[in-house]
């Protein structure tokens, strides 16, 4: 594949390096900054073109017309957008990928025809949210009559760990619909299913019972020796 990478910052540099390491790819990096170009040339070889990746003249010179993929990874969303749009519209590049720095831009990029977006900010945020000790309950889908489907991860300190689903004291009109265990296997729980730490639980509940459901599934056991109750229950 002929892959053009726009932007030779840290992302562009390591991306080009990985793509080259795959062996089957022809890679070209486009970068405005002379020092960054030199670094690529010295460390990765003669695969860099100095210029503006939004400028049609540079794009012609780089052979966008025969590129299989364009990946725009500069630090500026507007530049990544325009590079990808021009690649698509003027050079008919089959696949365009843009890095987005503001995760909110995902939708507009998709609507404007960019094939894929990657947001480091969104990826990091998702990880942080999963790792947060408070394990927020995430609303997944709103149903009729005030019901909704929510997702939540069982913290290792939760009192429900080791208990059977049938024993749980859940709020009214709440139901555990699915349990995904820490190995990623989905299971439809029965009353006998035992809750494990790190299980991902998908439940149906009433909107007003969200807080009560979260407390029921995440509250630490009171006999916890290290006083995990410090997490605020």
């Amino acid at each position: 594949m002929y892959i053009i990478v726009i932007g030779a910052g840290k992302v562009g540099y390591y991306l080009a390096k990985e793509l080259l390491a795959e062996g089957e790819n022809e890679v070209l990096v486009i970068e405005k900054d002379g020092a960054k170009c030199e670094r690529i040339a010295e460390e990765l070889g003669d695969i860099v073109l100095r210029g503006d990746g939004c400028e049609a003249a540079t794009m012609s010179l780089a052979g966008f017309g025969r590129a299989d993929m364009v990946i725009a990874v500069t630090g500026d969303d507007e530049d990544n957008l325009v590079s990808c749009q021009v690649a698509k519209v003027k050079f008919n590049v089959p696949r365009t990928v843009a890095r987005i720095n503001n995760p909110k831009n995902e939708e507009i990029f998709r609507r404007l025809g960019i094939d894929a977006t990657i947001s480091a900010t969104a990826a990091i945020l998702a990880h942080i949210e999963q790792e947060l000790p408070t394990h927020p309950l995430i609303p997944l889908l709103t149903l009729r009559m005030g019901l909704e489907i929510v997702g939540l991860k069982i913290p290792p300190t939760a009192a429900v760990v080791g208990k059977r689903v049938g024993e749980l004291m859940l709020p009214q009109q709440s139901l555990i619909a699915l349990i995904i265990d820490s190995r990623g296997s989905p299971n439809a729980p029965t009353g006998q299913t035992v809750i494990q730490a790190e299980d991902e639980v998908v439940a149906v509940t009433r909107t007003e019972n969200e807080g009560a459901l979260r407390a029921a599934l995440t509250a630490p056991s009171t006999s916890e020796p290290f006083g995990a109750a410090a997490s605020g229950q």
Binding site: C54, E55, A56, A57, D76, D77, E78, D79, L81, V82, Q85, V86, V89, K90, N102, K104, N105, E107, I108, R111, L112
Partner: protein, 136 residues
């Protein structure tokens, strides 16, 4: 969007024509270019941030005009105004004539001051010089 020389002059003209005008710029200092009698709202913020566009009420605007120094910023903000906020008239300054043509074909209302300026200069040059100003 963009309170440079063109943005400030345009905002002033449009207000004199009786329109309600809001000006957006990333730097508060840019609003110094507006005349003291300008009554429209001034907002500091980045026009390619959809939360900023929502906050300043782009959804209720009849027209959105992007005249920052950055072609790509103008292009992105204008497309956001159209696609996300349904603004009917979205005008965009693009210095690069090639990009201007591409986005005109995509349906944006675009102006390239580069071509307009070059044509004006050529026409001026081709006209006979004003009387009394020939030679030294």
């Amino acid at each position: 969007m963009g309170c440079g020389r063109v943005g400030a002059a345009l905002a002033t003209m449009l207000e004199e024509d009786g329109h309600e005008v809001t000006v957006l710029d990333v730097q508060a200092a840019a609003f110094r270019r507006l005349p003291a009698e300008f009554k429209g709202r001034r907002h500091v913020g980045n026009g390619i941030d959809q939360e900023v566009l929502a906050r300043i009420g782009v959804g209720g605007a009849d027209a959105f005009i992007a005249v920052t120094q950055g072609d790509n910023r103008n292009v992105m903000a204008t497309q956001m105004a159209r696609e996300l906020f349904g603004v009917k008239r979205a005008l965009c300054r693009i210095y690069d004539p090639i990009r201007e043509e591409i986005y005109r074909n995509l349906g944006l209302e675009t102006i390239s001051p580069t071509l307009v300026g070059a044509r004006l200069l050529r026409e001026t040059l081709e006209r006979a010089p004003p009387a009394g100003k020939t030679g030294g």
